[in-house]
C-alpha cells in the first residue's frame, strides 16, 4: 500500500511537470489548430540555457535562500527566453502560413524542431549532461514512510502558482477574453476589433514561458538533460494534451496528471521499458473511443 502511495506521489509530481509542457501544446493548438512539434525541443533549449546559467553563476554552492531565489530567477529567465523564442518562431515561420493548407505549418513545425535540436546539439554536445543537484534530497515528511523531498516540493511550488495565474489570465482578463474569442472564431474576433496576430503571438509567448519554467524544473528534478530529450518529453506532454482534450486548459492539467500516474505506476508494476508503449496504447484507445479527450468538446467538420 505504501509502495503504491509512493508511486502515486511520484506520478503526481511528474504529472505536474508534464502538464506544464502540455499547456504549451494545448494553448497553441486551441488558438491556431497547430500541433507545435517544436515545443518539446523548445523546452530542451530552455534546459540548455538553465544549465549554462547555473554553471555560470555557480548556484550549486549557495545557501538555502540563495538557492531558492536563484531557482525563481532561473524560472523567470528561461521562461522569458523560451517565450521570446516561441514568439520569434511564430512571427518568422508560422505567421506567413496562416492561410496555407493545414499540412504546411505542421511540417514547418517539424522543421523548426530539427533546427532546435541541432542548436541543442551544438550547445550541449552529443552526450547526456548532468544538471547540478541544487536541492537537498532530505525527506520533508516526518517518519520513514513516504518520501517527499525538496525537489518534489519545488515542482508543486512552481507549477501550482503558474497554473492559477494562467487560469486567471485566461478567465478574467481582457487579453484572456481575446484569446478565447480568437480560439472560437478568428474571423469574427478580427471583425470586433481584436488584433488576431498579436493575440496569437501572446499565446505563443505564454505557452513558451510555461515551457521555459518546465525546462528549469525538469533539469532540477530529473538531473540529466540531452539534446534529444525534447522529442520524448514533447510526445508525453502532447499525449497528455490530447488525453485531456486538446485546446482545453483544465484538460491539459488533468491529462498531465493522468500521464504522470500511468508512467510511474507502469514503471513500478510492469517495467520501465514498457512505459512508452503503455502510454501510447492508452492514447490510441482514448482517441478511438473518445476523440475529443476527457474534458474537450467535439468539433464539427465543415466543408
Amino acid at each position: 500500500m505504501q509502495f503504491f502511495l509512493q508511486q502515486c506521489l511520484i506520478g503526481i509530481t511528474n504529472g505536474a511537470l508534464v502538464a506544464l509542457v502540455a499547456l504549451g501544446y494545448t494553448m497553441v493548438y486551441g488558438i491556431i489548430r497547430l500541433i507545435n512539434f517544436a515545443h518539446g525541443d523548445l523546452i530542451m533549449l530552455g534546459a540548455c540555457l538553465a544549465l549554462t546559467l547555473v554553471s555560470a553563476f555557480g548556484l550549486a554552492g549557495g545557501g538555502m535562500v540563495t538557492t531558492w531565489c536563484g531557482v525563481v530567477l532561473l524560472v523567470l529567465l528561461c521562461g522569458l527566453f523560451c517565450g521570446g523564442l516561441n514568439v520569434a518562431v511564430d512571427r518568422i515561420v508560422y505567421r506567413p502560413l496562416r492561410n496555407a493548407p493545414k499540412l504546411a505549418p505542421l511540417v514547418s513545425a517539424i522543421g523548426v524542431s530539427f533546427i532546435f535540436m541541432n542548436i541543442g546539439l551544438f550547445w550541449l554536445g552529443p552526450a547526456d549532461r548532468s544538471f547540478p543537484e541544487l536541492l537537498p534530497a532530505a525527506n520533508l515528511l516526518a517518519g520513514d514512510g513516504l518520501q517527499f523531498t525538496a525537489k518534489d516540493l519545488l515542482v508543486l511550488v512552481v507549477v501550482i502558482p503558474l497554473m492559477v495565474a494562467l487560469s486567471l489570465l485566461v478567465k478574467s482578463t481582457r487579453l484572456g477574453k481575446a484569446m478565447r474569442a480568437v480560439s472560437q472564431d478568428p474571423t469574427a474576433a478580427a471583425l470586433v476589433g481584436i488584433d488576431v496576430d498579436r493575440v496569437i503571438a501572446f499565446t505563443f509567448f505564454v505557452g513558451g514561458f510555461l515551457g521555459g519554467a518546465a525546462s528549469v524544473i525538469y533539469g532540477l528534478y530529473i538531473n540529466t538533460i540531452s539534446f534529444q530529450m525534447g522529442f520524448q518529453n514533447g510526445l508525453y506532454a502532447f499525449t497528455a494534451a490530447v488525453l485531456g482534450g486538446i485546446g482545453s486548459i483544465p484538460g491539459a492539467v488533468v491529462g498531465g496528471l493522468v500521464i504522470g500516474l500511468v508512467r510511474s505506476l507502469s514503471s513500478a508494476y510492469v517495467g520501465e521499458r514498457w512505459t512508452g508503449a503503455i502510454v501510447f496504447v492508452i492514447l490510441i484507445v482514448i482517441l478511438v473511443f473518445r476523440p475529443e479527450g476527457l474534458l474537450g468538446r467535439g468539433t464539427k467538420e465543415k466543408v
Partner: protein
C-alpha cells in the same frame, strides 16, 4: 508537367527537331529512361559491384517505402508519422518466416507475399478504428503506433531478438541451382543481384502506382483529400477509401521492409524503424512533391544522397583544407545535418509547398486563392 504530352501533329509531320523530340520523349517516358539507365549502370560502372551497389539498393528500397507513404500523405492527404513501423513489421515478419531460428524457413517469394499481406492486415487493423479521427489526431495515432511497435520489437526478446535483431536472413533463391550456380550464393557474393531485385521491385511499384493514380480508387483518394464531405456527398465511401489507402500504404512499406531485411541479411536493431526514419521518409515525400511519383523518387534521392554522398564529401573536404583542426562539430558539415533538413522543410513549406516536382493537381490546390 507530366501530362503535357506533345500533340500527335508533331509526330506525324516529323518537323520537330531531334533534340526537342528527345526532350519530349524523356519527359513523357521518364520512368522508362530512368529504368534503362539504372539497368545498364551496373554493367558500365564497376563500383556498383562493391559497397556502392549496396547503397544504391538501399536507395531503391527507400524509394519503395516513400511511394508507399505517398499513397497516404500524397494522394489521400492523411498525415502518417509512423510509416517506419510498417517498414519494420514487414522486415520482422519476413525474417521470422525465413531465418533458421524459426521452423518456417519459407522461400523468398512466399515469405515476401505473406509479410506484405500481414503488414497490410496490421495496417487495416490500426486504420479501421482510427480513420474517423480528424487529421492531426490521426497523425498522432500513427506516431504513437510507431513508438509502440518500436518498443515492442525491442522488448519481446524471445521473438524478435531484442536489440540484436533477427539474423541471418538467408538471401533469396537459397538452394535454387541454375546452371550449376546456387542462386542464393550469387546473391550473397555479388551486390548487383540485390541491385537488380530492388530495381525490379521499384519498377513494379512505380508502374502499379501510375496505374492506381488513374484508377477509380486513385481518383477517389484524391477526392477524399480535397474535400471529404463533398466526396461522400458524391457517393464515395470515405471510410472505405481511406482504409484502402491505409492498407495499400502499409503493404508497400511491408514490401520495402522485406527487401531491406533480405538485402542486409538481418533486420538490424529496432531503432532502424523509429520515428526518425518515418520523418525522413515523410520529408522526402514532401520535399519532392506530395502525390507526385517522380517527386517522391527525387526527394528520396536528395535525402539519401545528402547523407551518403554530400555530407561525407564535404566533411572530407573540410578535413583536407584543414579548416577544422580542433574537430569541433560546429565546423563539420555533418554537424549541421538536422538544421539543414529543418531549414529545407521550413523553406519548402513557405515558398513551394507543392514540392520540387509537383503533381499538377496538388500545385493547383495549394495555390488557389480562396480555400
Amino acid at each position: 508537367m507530366l501530362n503535357d504530352r506533345p500533340s500527335g501533329m508533331h509526330d506525324v509531320t516529323g518537323a520537330v527537331p531531334l533534340r526537342e523530340r528527345l526532350v519530349a520523349f524523356v519527359r513523357e517516358r521518364w520512368e522508362l529512361v530512368a529504368l534503362v539507365v539504372c539497368a545498364v549502370a551496373p554493367l558500365v560502372v564497376p563500383a556498383l559491384g562493391g559497397a556502392l551497389g549496396g547503397q544504391v539498393t538501399t536507395l531503391f528500397i527507400y524509394c519503395i517505402l516513400a511511394l508507399g507513404l505517398n499513397v497516404m500523405v500524397g494522394y489521400t492527404g492523411l498525415v502518417h508519422l509512423g510509416i517506419a513501423a510498417f517498414f519494420g513489421i514487414g522486415a520482422y515478419v519476413f525474417a521470422i518466416l525465413t531465418v533458421p531460428m524459426y521452423p518456417f524457413q519459407m522461400r523468398f517469394v512466399t515469405a515476401a507475399a505473406v509479410s506484405v499481406l500481414a503488414t497490410a492486415a496490421i495496417g487495416l487493423a490500426l486504420g479501421a478504428p482510427t480513420l474517423r479521427l480528424r487529421g492531426d489526431y490521426l497523425a498522432i495515432v500513427t506516431l504513437g503506433f510507431g513508438e509502440v511497435v518500436k518498443v515492442t520489437l525491442r522488448n519481446l526478446e524471445q521473438i524478435t531478438g531484442g536489440m540484436k535483431g533477427l539474423n541471418p536472413v538467408p538471401p533469396p533463391g537459397k538452394g535454387v541451382v541454375i546452371g550449376g550456380t546456387d542462386l542464393g550464393l550469387a546473391f550473397a557474393i555479388d551486390p548487383r543481384w540485390f541491385y537488380y531485385l530492388a530495381l525490379a521491385a521499384l519498377a513494379v511499384v512505380v508502374v502499379a502506382m501510375r496505374r492506381l493514380e488513374q484508377s477509380r480508387l486513385g481518383r477517389a483518394w484524391v477526392a477524399v483529400r480535397e474535400d471529404e464531405l463533398a466526396a461522400s456527398a458524391m457517393g464515395i465511401s470515405a471510410t472505405r477509401v481511406k482504409l484502402s489507402a491505409f492498407a495499400m500504404s502499409s503493404a508497400v512499406a511491408g514490401l520495402a521492409g522485406c527487401l531491406y531485411a533480405a538485402s542486409l541479411s538481418t533486420t538490424a536493431d529496432p531503432n532502424a524503424y523509429d520515428f526518425n526514419r518515418s520523418i525522413m521518409v515523410l520529408c522526402a515525400v514532401i520535399l519532392g512533391g506530395l502525390g507526385s511519383i517522380p517527386g517522391t523518387l527525387l526527394g528520396v534521392a536528395l535525402l539519401v544522397g545528402f547523407d551518403t554522398v554530400l555530407a561525407p564529401w564535404a566533411d572530407a573536404a573540410i578535413q583536407q583544407w584543414n579548416i577544422n583542426p580542433s574537430g569541433s562539430s560546429l565546423l563539420s558539415f555533418s554537424g549541421w545535418r538536422l538544421a539543414i533538413f529543418g531549414l529545407a522543410l521550413v523553406l519548402v513549406m513557405r515558398y513551394r509547398p507543392e514540392g520540387l516536382v509537383p503533381s499538377r493537381r496538388m500545385a493547383a490546390e495549394l495555390h488557389k486563392e480562396h480555400p
